[in-house]
């Protein structure tokens, strides 16, 4: 079994399109000629896709990955397959605990030269015999106390079990793919809006000034986005009537008031146009439609209170 660990970095750079052309061609020739190396590149690729889904790629690598893997049907299929496989495995892990599946036997698919080594299980009765003798003595010498203790313990166990079950049934599913993707989007927005170096490197294609919505007054602000500028960024400037040295939170809602994603830890800035909260959002997250942005401020109690609401209509633009 060959170990290509030393070439892991070069393979990843190749997959992301970061290798110089000559090096990439040389690597491709090796893929065709060396079966083990071709397999290693396949493994590295599935790990790269997994890292993307787990939000483990840096901003540059993520951008390169999306440019390469989310722009052709065949690559998108590969990315989607990895996502579906991971969801499938998560579902299986919820159904059963693989640690209690029993011992692994010899694997017919083990790589050449290696076999599974299995240690024999210890007889169960010999382990338990010595361990619980004190419990037997307790029940024999003090039967009334022992039975009372057992009854109280059982009631306590039932109460805890019922509470845990209701908590489990009412929590959002951990493996929900929409939730996973939302977390990835919010992670990207957090990096974009709270890391100074990241936001400084981004040049927004469009800046939109939004004023708080007042009932019956004013028209909805409009933003035109087309396919030609979907890879760019939008700067939103949310006007404030007054501001303070607090953290703000912007929640993006669709026209049915479903919360799409949230950007936290925003701060207000004083500008010639008055106090504003500014944030950057990738244009790809805006499909045509009406949006509401709910801006909340962190109060002394540690919770967010809405201070303003903004409306935005996104229109498809043709180049």
């Amino acid at each position: 079994m060959l170990d290509f660990n030393k070439q892991a970095t070069e393979i990843r750079r190749f997959l992301l399109g970061r290798l110089p052309e000559e090096s990439a061609e040389h690597l491709e020739e090796r893929i065709f000629a060396d079966r083990d190396f071709a397999e290693e590149v396949e493994i590295a690729e599935s790990e790269l896709i997994a890292d993307y889904h787990e939000n483990n790629l840096g901003p540059e690598d993520r951008a390169l990955f999306e440019r390469k893997y989310l722009t052709s049907p065949a690559n998108i299929q590969a990315v989607d397959y990895e996502s579906a496989f991971r969801e499938f495995i998560r579902g299986k892990l919820k159904e059963e605990d693989p640690l209690h599946r029993g011992r692994l036997g010899l694997m017919a698919t083990s790589p050449a030269g290696s076999e599974a080594k299995v240690s024999p299980a210890q007889p169960e009765h010999s382990k338990h015999g010595l361990r619980f003798s004190w419990l037997r003595r307790f029940f024999v010498t003090r039967p009334l106390l022992a039975n009372l203790t057992a009854a109280v313990s059982l009631l306590l166990l039932l109460a805890v079990g019922f509470w845990k079950l209701s908590a489990y049934l009412t929590r959002p599913p951990a493996g929900d793919p929409a939730q996973t993707e939302r977390r990835a989007i919010e992670g990207e927005l957090a990096r974009l809006n709270t890391a100074p170096s990241t936001s400084l490197q981004v040049t927004p294609a469009v800046t939109v000034d939004l004023q708080p919505v007042q009932r019956g007054v004013g028209a909805m602000s409009r933003l035109r986005i087309g396919d030609f500028n979907r890879s760019s960024f939008i700067r939103l400037r949310l006007g404030l009537i007054q501001s303070g040295p607090v953290n703000y939170r912007a929640a993006f809602l669709d026209d049915r008031r479903n919360e799409l994603f949230v950007v936290e830890d925003l701060t207000a800035q004083n500008t010639p146009e008055g106090p504003q909260v500014q944030l950057l959002v990738p244009a790809k997250y805006f499909k045509p439609g009406d949006y509401q942005i709910s801006l909340s401020a962190l109060n002394r109690g540690g919770s967010y209170e809405e201070v303003n609401s903004y409306a935005l209509r996104v229109i498809e633009a043709k180049q």
Binding site: F32, T71, S72, F85, R86, I89, L93, M107, P111, D254
Partner: protein
């Protein structure tokens, strides 16, 4: 392989000989040749996919058709690994494909805006995974589950190290083994998908 021979049959007068020559060029015996054929085919599919081709199987077929047509004149005097020739032809095929007018591609929707068809495809894929999962041996299933297991007390990588120790493998060997079991799943899903096509 049948698809390649059918296409070659429609063009050449002695296609069967050319295809036999191709296999002979790939391996000294039929078993070796078939294995090498599959290896080259997979490499071609990955090559075209990684270069953003919309339909890698069609382009891979095109490479095989062209090489098969030329094998009579190329193979006798070719020095070196035949896979290099396949790659050279693949580069030409890719360059020709790129020169064709580009088809419009829609940007990928984020999940909150999933169109019903995408969701249905995912459901079909999950159903296929369920079907193919049942065809794995219990040990193969256990290895896959434990490979992706994360517990409160152990991270994914710690679990993998423990699993590798139990199996008497290095972590890298376990990684390769898992990939091959996943490959078994993937091939099963592709067979199911091929059966469902009209």
């Amino acid at each position: 392989m049948k698809r390649i021979t059918e296409r070659v049959h429609s063009i050449d007068e002695t296609p069967e000989n050319d295809f036999e020559r191709l296999l002979a060029w790939l391996g000294e015996n039929p078993g070796q040749a078939a294995e090498k054929y599959e290896q080259v085919r997979q490499s071609l599919l990955n090559y075209f996919r990684r270069h953003g081709a919309a339909d890698p199987p069609s382009l891979a077929d095109e490479v095989f058709v062209r090489v098969t047509r030329k094998v009579g004149e190329v193979a006798p005097t070719y020095v070196g690994d035949p896979t290099h020739y396949f790659l050279a032809v693949a580069r030409n095929v890719l360059a020709e494909w790129r020169r064709q007018p580009a088809q419009a591609e829609l940007p990928q929707d984020i999940p909150v805006y999933q169109v019903p068809e995408e969701h249905e495809m995912k459901e079909l894929l999950l159903q296929s995974l369920e079907q193919c999962w049942a065809q794995l041996t219990p040990d193969e299933q256990t290895v896959l589950l434990r490979y992706y297991l994360e517990t409160p007390s152990q991270s994914v990588s710690e679990n993998r190290e423990q699993l590798a120790r139990e199996l008497g493998l290095t972590v890298n060997a376990l990684r390769v083994m898992t990939h091959r079991v996943r490959g078994k799943l993937r091939r099963c899903i592709e067979r199911l998908a091929a059966r469902k096509k009209p």
